[in-house]
Symmetry: C2
C-alpha cells in the first residue's frame, strides 16, 4: 500500500465534488497543500471564505504548477479547454485525473493535450447530492461509495496505485473499468434516471388541468422523489447528455419500448402483466439495501412529517 499523501493537490473547479475532496483531503491529511482554481472570482472568494484550500487562483495554469495531483472537477464539457490551458504548466510525474460522469469524451478531449511524463488517469467517484457549489461539499460524501478509474493500457502502475490509495483514503472502494463500459453502465444507473426525473417534472409543470400548487401540495405521494434529482446542476447535466449521447440514446430507446408495453397492459386491463412487472422490481431494491448502497428506513429515512421548520434546523 502506497502513501496516499500528495505534496500539492490542485482542484480545478470547486463545486460539490471539488469542495468535498477539499474537505476530506484536509481532514485526513491527504495532501500537504491544497490549491484551488475556478473561473469565477465570486466562487473563488467563497472557497477562500470557507477555507477550502491554501492558495487560490483564477488562472488554472498557475494553479497546477508544482502539483503532483491535479483533479479536474468541472462539467465534462469544460475539460478539453482546461487541459489545453494547463498542459504546459503540468509538472513531470504529476497525476492528472477528473471526476466526470462520462469517460470516453474525457479521454478524447484531454488526452491530446497531456505532455509525456504526466499520468492521465480518468476517474469517477459515484457519489453526489442534488446540491451544487462550494458550500455543498462535505468530507463524508465518498464514504462507502464506489470510485471508478478507467486507466488506458500502459498506464504507469505506481501512479495508478497512488491514485487508488487516495480514493480509498477518501472512504471509497475503487473499481477499474474499461472506458466504453463505464459509459454504458453510467447511462443506465445515472444518466437515464436523471433524464427521466427532469422529464417527469417538466411534464407536470406543463399541465393545464392540474395546477402547480396541487402538484406541490400532494407531491409526497411519489412525485417529490423525482424532484430531488431534477434539482441537480443543469450545466453539468447538459454536458453529460452531449458527451455520452450514444449510450444514453440506447437506454432511452429501451426505456421507451418498455413503457409502451406497460401502457398497452394498462389500456387492455392486463392485470397479470402489471402484477408481474411490479413484483419483480422489488428484488433489486432489496439487493441495493443489502449492498449498503441505500437505507431501508421508510421514505429514505426522511424526517417524519417533514416541514420547513424541520429543514431549517437540519441545515443550520
Amino acid at each position: 500500500m502506497s502513501d496516499p499523501q500528495f505534496e500539492r493537490l490542485t482542484l480545478i473547479g470547486i463545486g460539490l465534488i471539488g469542495s468535498s475532496i477539499a474537505h476530506v483531503a484536509r481532514e485526513r491529511q491527504l495532501a500537504k497543500e491544497i490549491v484551488i482554481s475556478t473561473r469565477s472570482q465570486e466562487t473563488l472568494n467563497r472557497a477562500e471564505e470557507l477555507g477550502l484550500g491554501d492558495r487560490y487562483y483564477l488562472d488554472a495554469a498557475e494553479a497546477v504548477e508544482g502539483a503532483d495531483l491535479v483533479i479536474l472537477c468541472v462539467p465534462v464539457g469544460a475539460n478539453g479547454a482546461i487541459a489545453q490551458w494547463i498542459a504546459p504548466s503540468l509538472a513531470p510525474g504529476a497525476i492528472l485525473t477528473d471526476v466526470g460522469s462520462t469517460k470516453t469524451s474525457v479521454v478524447n478531449d484531454i488526452r491530446p493535450h497531456v505532455p509525456d511524463g504526466v499520468h492521465l488517469i480518468p476517474g469517477h467517484p459515484i457519489a453526489g447530492t442534488e446540491h451544487s457549489g462550494p458550500d455543498a461539499g462535505f468530507s463524508t460524501l465518498f464514504e462507502n461509495r464506489w470510485c471508478i478509474l478507467t486507466p488506458e493500457a500502459g498506464t504507469d502502475e505506481t501512479a495508478l496505485e497512488k491514485l487508488k490509495e487516495f480514493w480509498k483514503a477518501c472512504g471509497s472502494t475503487v473499481d477499474i473499468m474499461d472506458v466504453q463500459h463505464h459509459d454504458l453502465v453510467l447511462a443506465i444507473v445515472s444518466h437515464l434516471p436523471q433524464l427521466i426525473a427532469y422529464n417527469i417534472v417538466g411534464t407536470a409543470d406543463d399541465l393545464e388541468t392540474v395546477t402547480k400548487s396541487e402538484v406541490i401540495k400532494y407531491s409526497a405521494s411519489g412525485f417529490r422523489d423525482f424532484t430531488r434529482l431534477a434539482a441537480s446542476d443543469p450545466t453539468m447535466w447538459r454536458d453529460i447528455c452531449l458527451n455520452n449521447k450514444d449510450a444514453i440514446l440506447e437506454m432511452l430507446a429501451r426505456f421507451s419500448e418498455d413503457l409502451s408495453a406497460l401502457q398497452r397492459a394498462i389500456r387492455w386491463g392486463d392485470g397479470d402483466s402489471l402484477f408481474q412487472l411490479f413484483e419483480r422490481t422489488r428484488g433489486i431494491r432489496k439487493s441495493i439495501i443489502e449492498a449498503g448502497q441505500d437505507t431501508d428506513a421508510p421514505n429514505f429515512g426522511r424526517p417524519i412529517g417533514t416541514s420547513s421548520a424541520d429543514d431549517g434546523s437540519q441545515n443550520s
Copy 2:
C-alpha cells in the same frame, strides 16, 4: 369543531395505512374501541400480536357491526366485494370511508351497496412509504400530510365534519375535491411517478450489456431513488392502474411526448434546449421544500455512507 372521537372504529385491511391509522387512533384516543378485519388469518394474527386493535375478525360483516366509523384500507380492486359483504351489517348513521388512491372507481364500486342512512365519504390520505403489511405502520405517517375527501353532492354535513376532524386529529390537513379531479391530480403526482419507477427498474433488470451487480453497486448515482417506489405493494398498484386507466394513459402519453422531444435534443446535440429544461425543473423542488412536503437535506437526509449496518440500527 366536533369531537374527533368515535365509539367504534372498524378497519377493514391492516396493511401500511390500516395499521398506521390503528396506531394514531390508539395514541390520540380517536376511538373508544378499534376493531380489525382482514382476509388472511396470518395477517390477522400478526395484527393481534402487535396489539393494533381490541377485537379481530376474519368476517368483515361481523367486524363492522355497531361501528360508527368504518375505513376500508384494502387495494382499490377489493372495495366492491367488501362493500357488498358488509352492507347489511352497517349501523345506521355510520360513516363509511376508504383510503384508496383512485376515487371514481370507489364511488362506482361501493355506492350501489351502501344502505340509506349510512354516510359514504370517499377519502385519500396522501401519505405512505415503500413498506407494506401490518408491521409497516406508525402513528406519525399522516403528520403534516394532506388528506383529500371527495364527498358527493348532498353528503351529510355533520358526518363530513366529523370525518374531517378525525383526519385532522391524525395530523393531516384536509382538502375537499371533486372525484374526477382527484383522479387526474393523483395520476400526475403519484401514479405516473410510480409507473416510471417500475418501468426504469424493469429496463435496468433486462440489460444484457450491464450486469445486475453493476446496477446495484453503482446505484447511488441516481438509480436507487427509483427503486424505493418500485418496492411498493404490487397488488395495490395493479389495482390502481386498472382503476384509473384514462387519467393514467393521458399522463403517460404526455410524458412520452416530452421524452421524445428530450431524446431528439440529445440526438441533435441541442444543448440550449437541454439546459432550458434542466434549469426550469429546479423551481418545483424549491417550492416543495418551502411547502414542507420534502426535506432540503442532501440525498433526502439519508444516513451518510449508508451501509447495511446503519440500516439495521435504524430499523431496530
